[in-house]
């Protein structure tokens, strides 16, 4: 029994192997197990007490000493044991059972993986989420894009590509970030391979990067965290890890804002907010659309904001006032004794008569007129000297024909040639001239929009036949002819033709080589001609009294940035800080329905706005408002009050945006 110390001596008990796969069925039924135990194959090994041994010609009992040694009856004559008993049903040992459980668990897991691997995670069915490939729901912003038609392949190129490709993908970089760049764009130069468009990979920007590894999108933006997950969160600790200036709190650690903050350039529209002008009587709401406030508070259009006071600028019924806005495309000079014979020599009566569609009487008049010109006599010195007004009126014609406005002979010669050309195919002739000066076909179409060829021909033929066109009706807005030329009167603010001509005038200053002949002066000449300075008190006058002409960097044909003069037709935000974000809305909400903008935007009484716009340099800052100081923000954004972490105001990426292809997909 158990209390017997010697009960398991080698000769008192059988040797029990702990790793036997089966245990005796009798023991399982709490009976006495047989001494022989089950066989390795799971059959009962104890139907007999022993297996007799044949010694020479006799069978010898081999019952174990633990069972009492050889029995008295000995083996049967046929060699079988004389003590037999019914077989038991051995059972598997605990170890084997455990092993089987484990194998079943492994098999079940594999079956589950394989059974659900075919379920498309992006499918619309409710059970798509149980796919063994699905890593979880995407964030709300990505759900509709990534799961629409292309599914997981939007980001994971290897998905659903077949067993071979997926096996290859196992050993190749997945480059998920490249998938991100399929939709997301950034303001920095783009290079999908090196992800250089992520500014914090830019070694010139961040010199003290912890490692040379590139920062991939996934390092910060971990997807599949659920629909409501914020995958763009960045901690201040992360910012502080690289930035030399460590920030524990905005109010105490953040550097002071720059001297002109938030302005980094001159505004696109000249508008004096200071108290010295009539504008000071206006409320901010009168022009700024507070309801549409975001980073900037947009200005309503001209009609809504400026129109109330300045709306009649371009709609004057007074002919003299309206004339100031006229664009003089063609100014025919008074031909004198020197120029007329030279010109008239080249006039082919037959050709001109055909071009002007003249009948016989008119043809006779033309013949007489040319004869008069050829025989013209007198002294050109007797002619009055050209004044500034005349020169301004000639500026466009002179620039287009390549003549100098103050050189009568050359000007007359070129205009004479032009008149002949205009009598034939007027718009083609004008288009050719514009093209020589760099205007594209579409620009030319805009520049000459609404200009009737018949009107041009009438002017040319009228001068050729009668010595001057005789207007038949009162001048209206648009293209019109006068006795000495062809002009355009704008229809109102934002007139596309006038705008196109200003753009053409401004861009002419960017011309180089032969095309640039006279371009240096043309802008100066164009300005007063098209935008008389008497309309507004100061500045360059007219459109450009408000709209700035600025020298700005634009992409040239070869892609390299090039400084060009451009007219600014829109109110560009004074501050383009790609890594800074700001939202007016919570501030407007806090300050009430009638916003107290002055809390942050303090008027500057010493502002000299017009001075800022005299030149083309946009880097001139110092507007109507004093710069915003950090202390103003820190009044609320301080520890324990309003949120003041880095990410509240700073972007990680430069000008994050979306690609057009992606926007198109969204619309579809």
């Amino acid at each position: 029994m158990i209390t017997d110390q010697d009960r398991y001596a080698y000769d008192n008990s059988r040797y029990e192997r702990p790793n036997f796969p089966y245990i005796c069925g009798r023991a399982c039924m709490w009976g006495k197990p047989c001494s022989r135990g089950p066989n390795l194959d799971g059959r009962c090994g104890g139907t007999t007490v022993c297996t007799p041994f044949r010694d020479d010609d006799r069978w010898v009992c081999r019952r174990s000493p633990a069972e009492g040694g050889p029995c008295e009856d000995g083996p049967m004559p046929d060699g079988s044991c004389c003590q037999s008993q019914p077989p038991c049903r051995p059972r598997r040992s605990i170890r084997v059972q455990r092993g089987r459980f484990t194998k079943i668990a492994v098999a079940l897991t594999l079956v589950l993986i394989l059974a659900f691997v075919g379920f498309q995670p992006g499918g619309s069915a409710s059970w798509s989420g149980i796919s063994s490939v699905s890593p979880g729901p995407l964030s709300g912003a990505h759900t509709s894009f990534a799961l629409a038609d292309i599914g997981c392949t939007a980001c994971h190129k290897a998905h659903d590509s077949g067993l071979l490709q997926m096996t290859q993908a196992l050993f190749e970089p997945a480059n998920v970030s490249a998938g991100c760049l399929g939709c997301h764009s950034f303001g920095a130069p783009e290079d999908a391979q090196s992800l250089a468009n992520i500014p914090h990979n830019n070694r010139t920007l961040v010199a003290a990067m912890a490692s040379d590894d590139e920062t991939a999108c996934l390092n910060c933006h971990t997807e599949h965290k659920g629909v409501d997950a914020n995958i763009a969160a960045v901690s201040d600790v992360q910012c502080n890890s690289c930035h030399e200036k460590k920030f524990a709190a905005f109010d105490t650690d953040h550097a002071a804002f720059s001297a002109q903050y938030p302005h980094i350039r001159r505004a696109g529209i000249q508008f004096d907010h200071s108290n010295v002008t009539e504008h000071a009587k206006l409320s901010c709401n009168d022009c700024h659309q507070v309801d549409a406030a975001a980073r900037n508070v947009p200005v309503a259009g001209f009609n809504e904001s400026c129109g109330e006071c300045h709306g009649d600028l371009l709609r004057s019924t007074d002919a003299t006032a309206a004339e100031r806005w006229d664009l003089r495309l063609l100014r025919i000079p008074e031909f004198d004794a020197k120029t007329s014979p030279v010109l008239a020599k080249k006039f082919k009566i037959k050709k001109l008569a055909k071009a002007c569609r003249l009948d016989d009487d008119a043809k006779g008049q033309l013949t007489e007129r040319i004869a008069e010109l050829r025989e013209a006599t007198g002294s050109s010195k007797a002619k009055a000297k050209l004044n500034d007004q005349d020169l301004e009126a000639r500026a466009v014609t002179a620039f287009l024909t390549g003549a100098k406005a103050n050189k009568d002979k050359a000007y007359a010669k070129n205009v004479g040639k032009l008149l002949v050309a205009l009598a034939g195919k007027p718009n083609k002739a004008l288009g050719k001239l514009l093209s020589k000066k760099g205007a594209s076909r579409s620009e030319t179409a805009t520049l000459l929009a609404g200009l009737s060829p018949d009107l041009v021909r009438s002017v040319a033929c009228g001068w050729l036949i009668d010595g001057g066109y005789k207007p038949r009706s009162k001048t209206k807005n648009g293209w019109f002819a006068t006795a000495d030329g062809l002009s355009y009167r704008p229809t109102g603010h934002g007139d596309p033709v006038l705008r196109a001509w200003i753009d053409f005038a401004v861009s002419s200053a960017n011309l180089k080589g032969k095309k640039a002949l006279g371009a240096g002066a043309v802008l100066a000449a164009f300005r007063p001609q098209m935008m008389p300075d008497s309309v507004l008190a100061s500045g360059v006058g007219g459109c450009l009294s408000c709209h700035a002409v600025s020298r700005m960097a634009v992409a040239a044909k070869d892609g390299a940035p090039e400084l060009r003069l451009l007219a600014e037709w829109r109110q560009e935000p004074a501050s383009k800080r790609p890594l800074v974000r700001y939202d007016h809305r919570p501030h407007v909400d806090l300050l009430g329905a009638t916003p107290k903008c002055g809390v942050c935007h303090e008027r500057r009484e010493d502002a000299k706005i017009s001075k800022m716009f005299e030149a083309f340099d946009i880097d001139v800052v110092g507007g109507s408002f004093a710069p915003i100081r950090k202390e103003i923000c820190a009044e609320c954004h301080t520890s324990g009050q309003v949120r003041n972490d880095c990410q509240l105001c700073h972007e990680y990426h430069t000008e994050p945006g979306f690609r057009h292809a992606m926007m198109g997909a969204a619309e579809n």
Binding site: I2, K32, I94, V106, I113, S134, P135, A174, L218
Partner: protein
């Protein structure tokens, strides 16, 4: 300090250093917008496989792979480290979003929980078994019980034959045989109760008044055997728990390793 304890302390220190290194690397990587999950993931999967080797070591007892006690210590420390590394790897996410990852997380939690429970059982129950006063190998419990039962029945038969009274025999058949037939009071033994002995005492006392002195002597011998049997029952209960908790731990651990390998494959195909 015993060698096994020294080994356990050494392994614990090493594991703590590795964990702190990985956690520190993960934190630094997070600060610098770098991805640390591959490193912690690789370490975790290697750790899973090493922990799984513990089961294989038992099957390969013939190999000189060190004492099982060392393996147990290393397995326990490694298991604890795996729990920490898991949360480093998931950046503290308790419940992931994907179905396979959720299953993996659930399996990992169950394996960890069963492992912790198993560790506690292995620390608590052996000392209680030592205090039982007898030692018996789990596989020999049926034989011991059969032996005790055989002796009790021999005593009852002898008493019946000697005294010509079947009072004791009938009482054995109707009452005591239930106790000797197989292990009893499983959960009571686990809780450290003595209901088995109380039951025997109550049953022997109930019949004692109907027996003469010689039969009472026989009944006393039966009570002594019942006490020994109760200790064997105690062993049976505790050793059963010590063996069967692995029925939860091992299959779940194997399933978790398979899913973890699947996770590695998916991550390599889709992300890395």
């Amino acid at each position: 300090m015993r060698p096994v304890q020294k080994f356990g302390v050494s392994v614990s220190i090493a594991a703590a250093l590795v964990f702190l290194g990985v956690a520190g690397h993960a934190y630094q990587s997070w600060r610098h917008a770098e991805d640390a999950t591959p490193l912690s993931g690789y370490i975790l999967i290697v750790l899973f496989l090493l922990l799984g080797l513990f089961s294989s070591r038992k099957k390969l007892a013939m190999l000189p792979a060190g004492r099982a006690a060392y393996w147990t210590a290393a397995h326990s420390v490694g298991g604890l480290m795996a729990i920490g590394l898991y949360f480093v790897h998931t950046s503290g996410t308790v419940w992931p979003g994907g179905s396979a990852e959720r299953l993996l997380a659930a399996l990992f939690y169950l394996v960890s929980l069963s492992g912790l429970i198993g560790y506690a059982l292995q620390r608590l129950l052996p000392s209680r078994l030592t205090r039982a006063g007898v030692e018996v190998i789990y596989e020999r419990v049926p034989a011991e019980l059969a032996d005790i039962r055989q002796r009790v029945e021999a005593l009852v038969t002898d008493a019946t034959e000697q005294h010509g009274s079947d009072t004791l025999a009938r009482h054995y058949v109707e009452s005591l045989s239930w106790f000797f037939r197989r292990p009893r009071f499983f959960f009571d033994h686990l809780g450290g109760g003595r209901r088995g002995l109380a039951w025997v005492a109550r049953e022997t006392e109930a019949v004692s008044r109907y027996l003469d002195d010689s039969e009472k002597t026989c009944l006393d011998e039966i009570a002594e055997l019942a006490e020994i049997k109760d200790r064997v029952d105690f062993h049976w209960s505790l050793q059963t728990v010590l063996r069967y908790w692995l029925f939860v731990h091992l299959p779940l651990a194997a399933a978790a390793i398979v899913l973890a390998l699947w996770h590695v494959i998916l991550v390599h195909v889709y992300v890395i």
